[in-house]
Point group: C2
Chain length 231, copies 2
């Protein structure tokens, strides 16, 4: 198996070696600086994006401009894919740090799908995982109170963006408002809950960086919701 731009987790690696070659030649890879749009809500769908390196948030805004983050994406993800078969993107994507992202046009992607059943199958599995996560998230947000939501959000961020999954201590660099948009509340509420967690010595805040001291203890605070694992 080829390793696409040194990212073995990239789904494109499920294509045959010849097709990996074809896609490498016929795709466009860009460096997107932190905070930049990869694609915007409402713009025309031309293809799909594969994250080779970096972190991205998938957002959706209402008329008043209020943003809701519907998903966090890392190196194992593809983007813009929920729009396949649609004319316009129903969501937008913004980088959370400098990211290298590969763009593939729809017709090339379609040819690759038809020629590589395993690739298509793995993309389908990726979808199914994301759908399950999304459904569980919907359920969690419906049942939880604010404190529980914030904890869920911290765990979600840590799970998506923490390299060393076994560590009990994790740093989070998102702002209060970005966290609020993930869990569907506002920055004030997040701040309150974080203050409360600080009093219990479960987290520390150092210059806007949130340090989770004991991630396992946070997890145990949600064990009323056994399904929350993997949201």
């Amino acid at each position: 198996m080829h390793s696409w731009f040194n990212n073995p987790a990239c789904l494109i690696n499920y294509c045959s070696p010849e097709w990996v070659e074809i896609i490498q030649q016929r795709s466009i890879t860009h460096l997107y600086p932190k905070g930049q749009y990869v694609f915007m809500e409402g713009s025309l769908v031309m293809g799909a994006y594969f994250i080779l390196k970096g972190k991205v948030k998938v957002i959706s805004s209402d008329q008043t401009g209020k943003e809701q983050t519907v998903r966090l994406a890392n190196e194992e993800h593809m983007l813009g894919h929920t729009a396949i078969g649609l004319e316009k993107y129903s969501v937008g994507a913004i980088t959370l740090e400098d990211s290298i992202i590969c763009f593939i046009e729809n017709n090339i992607l379609y040819e690759a799908f038809m020629a590589n059943p395993k690739f298509t199958f793995e993309v389908m599995l990726f979808y199914s995982r994301e759908l399950r996560k999304s459904e569980l998230r919907t359920k969690c947000l419906a049942l939880m109170n604010n404190e529980e939501k914030v904890i869920l959000g911290l765990l979600y961020i840590a799970d998506t963006y923490n390299q060393e999954k076994t560590k009990n201590q994790v740093e989070i660099i998102l702002s209060r408002q970005e966290i609020a948009q993930i869990i569907g509340t506002n920055a004030d509420q997040v701040s309150r809950v974080l203050s409360s967690l600080k009093k219990d010595y479960l987290i520390e805040t150092r210059e806007r960086t949130i340090v989770i001291k004991n991630i396992n203890h946070l997890r145990s605070m949600l064990n009323k919701y056994p399904f929350a694992t993997g949201c």
Copy 2:
């Protein structure tokens, strides 16, 4: 293209005629009476289900037994698919009316995927649509107040289960509690909102059947959320 058990919308029809034949021979089709489990949360994953006829709700319950409906499924849907690659179902499925459902074992399904790229592709598109809908739902439920959520729920039910999409009047047979579980609140709140809508002559209730008199007017009440269409 073959028509699988007189359901042209069934995704299996994207397989080659030979494979439709193979699947028909090697799958199991059952009639599930109303209110019966198709599969239960936590049970072992053996394969996937295709709805040939009927309506199903996909649910997920917490420790206290409180149920949350994560998705409504009709004749165009497959079920149990979000569990592909997992050991146990993260959700359960219950019929909302008498339904004919076809079960296909994992290994046969996998063979079919490898042999029929178009089938795999269409299943992938199905996933992508459901994921987009799920993400939009998450966003809606995060931003809306109770009245708006109830309206969204009514429209969601109407869109999923109403045959004649062009009609302005739709009947809904679900109970208050079932509606509440779809939008993440309780039966009391649904009842309040329905009473309020009745006062405005937007709906009628006849023996527990909710009759939407003017679905377009209900839609317009959510046009603060343009993305709500297709939740």
